[in-house]
């Protein structure tokens, strides 16, 4: 039995490696084509560039102006993640650990948000931002990201709060620690693995988001990284694939590098929302 096993595992490994390479090949194609001229892409899309040129990237930053949107996206990530970690962890702790009469009702209310997709709230939400006179603003987008992200954030934190030993809290209370100090000094540091998950999940999500940013900020004022790249596309009748690929590579590079550095954390973090 063992010899048969030894035979087929290497074949399986080789086969899966080849299929895996095919899976990433479109991304690889974008990478090599980002260093070619438009004519070279047309004539020879599958070959390595004859000369690795950074011209497309220069054009991307000078003509398309991608540096400011990239900074904006980065700041948006920080603002949303900060708010989510702050409000989400407190709420999850309170709902799972503290005795609250309204606790069960609030829990169901937050959980309901998990199944409601963006399209369902999109139209009235835009109307609400118009009423508040903050339409197409960063504030509106931030408000949407945080309120939309909270259910999953609370869900992920809630599962983890339960693992914090109750004795720790009791000991701190006896030492005279107030309820808020108890959370910030004792419980929150213990939630660190969960906080890392939230940072990865939402960091990736907000950096990559195109759809929701476009709907809420509108195409005219789209100043986030991917919205800006999308605008370039819509302006072109004939697609300049060389610039597009340079944009794709530039905006995917940070995410790809982080993934290479922390593959396990990424895979764990991104599937965290699904593990009961």
């Amino acid at each position: 039995v063992k010899s048969r096993k030894r035979l087929y595992v290497p074949i399986l490994e080789g086969l899966l490696l080849v299929i895996g390479l095919v899976v990433v090949s479109p991304a690889f194609l974008a990478f090599i084509n980002a260093f070619k001229s438009l004519t070279e892409i047309r004539d020879n899309p599958l070959a390595l560039p004859a000369k690795w040129s950074f011209e497309n990237f220069g054009e991307l930053f000078s003509k398309v102006g991608l540096s400011e949107p990239m900074l904006n996206s980065f700041l948006m990530c920080i603002a949303v993640i900060g708010s989510l970690v702050l409000t989400g962890s407190m709420a999850a702790y309170s709902l799972t650990r503290r005795k609250m009469t309204s606790g069960p009702v609030l829990k169901v209310l937050f959980l309901a948000g998990l199944i409601i997709p963006f399209q369902v709230v999109m139209v009235p939400l835009l109307q609400q931002f118009r009423t508040l006179n903050i339409q197409t603003s960063y504030l509106a987008l931030w408000l949407h990201y945080v309120s939309w992200g909270l259910p999953l954030c609370i869900f992920i934190y809630s599962g983890f709060v339960g693992t914090v030993p109750k004795e720790l809290e009791e000991a701190a209370t006896i030492d005279g620690c107030g309820p808020l100090g108890l959370f910030w000094k004792i419980v929150f540091p213990l939630l660190k693995p969960c906080t890392i998950t939230i940072v990865i999940f939402w960091g990736l999500w907000i950096w990559n988001d195109y759809t929701q940013a476009l709907v809420i900020m509108g195409p005219a004022k789209g100043q986030l990284a991917f919205v800006q790249l999308g605008r370039v596309l819509q302006d072109q009748y004939v697609k300049n694939w060389n610039t597009i690929f340079a944009g794709v590579v530039t905006l995917s590079a940070p995410v790809t590098l982080l993934y290479l550095l922390m593959q396990q954390k990424f895979e764990k973090g991104l599937t965290a929302g699904s593990v009961k």
Partner: protein, 296 residues
């Protein structure tokens, strides 16, 4: 301690839950509830004042060919995605679980598309499917199959499959990873207990892996149903519903009517229909989960 009073405890709870609750109520629950109210009006959003028109929007929806087309395509996608993300991902995970050499690399290759932006996957696939310069057609022509070359994205027969392929490409590794995590929790004694003689891969799958993977199977099937019903951004960055409403999803229909054509009341009615369908899915999920718990 108890003397310090429930008032300060109540205050603490308010401070802890308050910010999250306010944000969530204000910018998620309120618009969701308002949406249901809008669905009973003929509101454009800004041109006219909302007038109550009862269920007219819903009647119109089910007579609207474009909405029917979007339901048909959403159903088509959902059925395929459930099969592929539940069954296909399970098969992939079982195979990936056997890999010892280059384990992280091989798993990473399959997972990688999931971390790319929707816009990126849309662009990559648009490029692949492009008629003149697309990679797929270049390869076909290179193989002498010139007559097969075409614009895959705008061909009515191929466009739905184009979307399917793109969505499967981007999320199959993700669903396989969920199964992989579950496979690692199966104790090795179970494999040993099956005995050496009947230890064919199919027996292992049938008697150990599938029963032990049941929580993940339930989870991925529900997640993929929701995934299918929610398809929206993927359409926005590729076909925009073309050719001829062939790839309209319900989500895209809402966006198209509500945001692009200023028919908010009408779009809200379509949102409400989506919401009801999702509610049924969620109820079914709760039922399945509960049944599973009884069995364990």
């Amino acid at each position: 301690m108890r003397v310090r009073g429930s008032l300060s405890q109540m205050w603490a709870s308010t401070v802890l839950v308050g910010p999250a609750l306010l944000l969530y109520l204000g910018f998620f629950v309120v618009p969701a509830v308002l949406g249901f109210a809008y669905s009973l009006t003929n509101w454009s959003g800004w041109k006219n004042a909302p007038t109550f028109i009862g269920l007219d929007n819903f009647v119109e929806l089910f007579r609207d060919d474009r909405f029917i087309a979007s339901i048909r395509f959403t159903l088509f996608e959902t059925v395929i995605l459930v099969v592929v993300f539940t069954g296909g991902a399970l098969a992939l995970a079982v195979l990936l679980d056997k890999v010892r050499k280059w384990k992280a690399l091989i798993r990473g290759l399959f997972f990688y598309p999931y971390i790319l932006s929707i816009l990126v996957s849309g662009l990559l696939w648009q490029y692949m499917a492009n008629s003149r310069e697309g990679a797929v057609n270049k390869i076909l022509r290179g193989m002498g199959l010139d007559s097969w070359a075409q614009n895959w994205m705008s061909d009515p027969a191929w466009a739905p499959w184009f979307i399917t392929a793109m969505v499967v490409w981007s999320a199959l590794g993700f669903f396989a990873t969920i199964y992989l995590a579950n496979l690692q929790t199966i104790p090795s004694e179970l494999y040993e207990a099956l005995g050496l003689e009947s230890k064919s891969a199919i027996d292992v799958l049938r008697y150990i892996q599938i029963p032990m993977l049941r929580p993940s199977i339930t989870l991925t099937s529900v997640m993929s149903v929701i995934f299918g019903i929610n398809l929206f951004g993927q359409i926005m960055v590729t076909t925009m519903g073309a050719p001829g409403y062939r790839t309209f999803t319900v989500g895209y229909f809402i966006y198209w009517q509500g945001v692009q054509h200023d028919r908010q009341g009408y779009a809200a009615a379509a949102s409400f229909v989506t919401f009801v369908v999702l509610l049924i899915v969620a109820a079914l999920q709760t039922y399945l989960m509960r049944r599973k718990e009884v069995q364990l």
